[in-house]
C-alpha cells in the first residue's frame, strides 16, 4: 500500500464531489492509467467523473504526464479535463 495526495479540478472535481483527498493505493496501481482504473471502482461518482478515461489529463507534482507514467514517489497527483484558459 502507498499513500497518495490527489487533487481534482473543473468537472472532474464537481463529479467526484471533492477537490482533494488522500488515498491508500493497492500494490497493483503502478501508472496513472492504473490509478484511473482503481478510482472507478470506488463509486458511481468516480465512474461518472472518469467515464471517458482518455480525455482525463493528469499531472504529477505539478507537471503534465501521460497515462503510462509511473506514480511511484508522487507527492501530488492531479486529475482534470482538457484545459480552457487563455
Amino acid at each position: 500500500m502507498s499513500t497518495v495526495n490527489l487533487v481534482y479540478f473543473s468537472w472532474v472535481r464537481e463529479r467526484i464531489g471533492k477537490g482533494e483527498e488522500t488515498l491508500e493505493l493497492p500494490a497493483g496501481v503502478v501508472t496513472i492509467g492504473d490509478l484511473l482504473g482503481h478510482l472507478k471502482t470506488l463509486g458511481a461518482e468516480y465512474e461518472a467523473a472518469l467515464e471517458h478515461q482518455n480525455v482525463i489529463r493528469a499531472a504529477i507534482n505539478q507537471e503534465h504526464v501521460d497515462h503510462g507514467e509511473p506514480i511511484a514517489g508522487a507527492r501530488e497527483i492531479a486529475l482534470f479535463p482538457p484545459m480552457t484558459g487563455g
Binding site: 499531472a59 505539478q62 492531479a78 479535463p81 484545459m83 480552457t84 484558459g85 487563455g86
Partner: protein, 154 residues
C-alpha cells in the same frame, strides 16, 4: 544574462501599460514589444460572466515553463505573462502576454507561441454563467487550439 521571465496568476485586474513599462524601462536595446490581451466576450449578450478555476502552483509553473521555452526558441529579450482567475465579466481582461526582442518577428512569434501553449497546457478551466440564469457549462477544449499548438512542432 538570462532573459527575464515574469509570470503572475492573480484574481485582480492587471495594467497593460505598467507591464510594458516594467519590461522596457531603463533599457534602450529592445527593438520590438508585442503584447497579447485576451478579453472576456459577451457572446452576443448571452454570457453573464466566466468563472476561471486554476491549479494554484502548477498554473504559475506551467506558464513559466512555456515562457522560458519561448525565450530560448525565439531569442527573446524578455517575456511576461499575467493570467487572472475567479469571476470575470464581459469586457474584462483575462490574460496578458508580453514579449520583447531586437527584431519584430521574434516578438510576434514568441507571443503567439506562448498563447498557443498557454491555451492547451496551462491548468485553467472556464465555466460559463449564462445571462438567462441557467446553470453554466464548462467550456469545452477546442480542436483548433490543439491544431494551433501543433504548428510549432519541429
Amino acid at each position: 544574462m538570462a532573459a527575464p521571465v515574469s509570470v503572475r496568476v492573480q484574481r485582480e485586474d492587471f495594467d497593460l501599460a505598467a507591464e510594458v513599462s516594467a519590461l522596457t524601462r531603463g533599457r534602450a536595446d529592445i527593438g520590438a514589444v508585442v503584447t497579447f490581451l485576451g478579453l472576456c466576450r459577451d457572446e452576443a449578450g448571452s454570457l453573464d460572466a466566466l468563472e476561471l478555476e486554476h491549479y494554484p502552483g502548477m498554473a504559475e509553473a506551467e506558464i513559466s515553463r512555456i515562457c522560458h521555452e519561448a525565450v530560448q526558441r525565439f531569442g527573446l529579450q524578455a517575456a511576461t505573462a499575467v493570467h487572472r482567475f475567479g469571476r470575470i465579466e464581459p469586457g474584462e481582461n483575462i490574460v496578458l502576454v508580453l514579449t520583447a526582442s531586437l527584431h519584430r518577428q521574434a516578438a510576434f512569434d514568441g507571443a503567439n507561441f506562448i498563447m498557443d501553449f498557454l491555451k492547451t497546457s496551462a491548468p485553467f478551466w472556464k465555466k460559463e454563467h449564462r445571462a438567462d440564469g441557467s446553470a453554466g457549462d464548462w467550456v469545452s477544449a477546442k480542436d483548433a487550439d490543439d491544431a494551433a499548438r501543433e504548428r510549432w512542432s519541429r
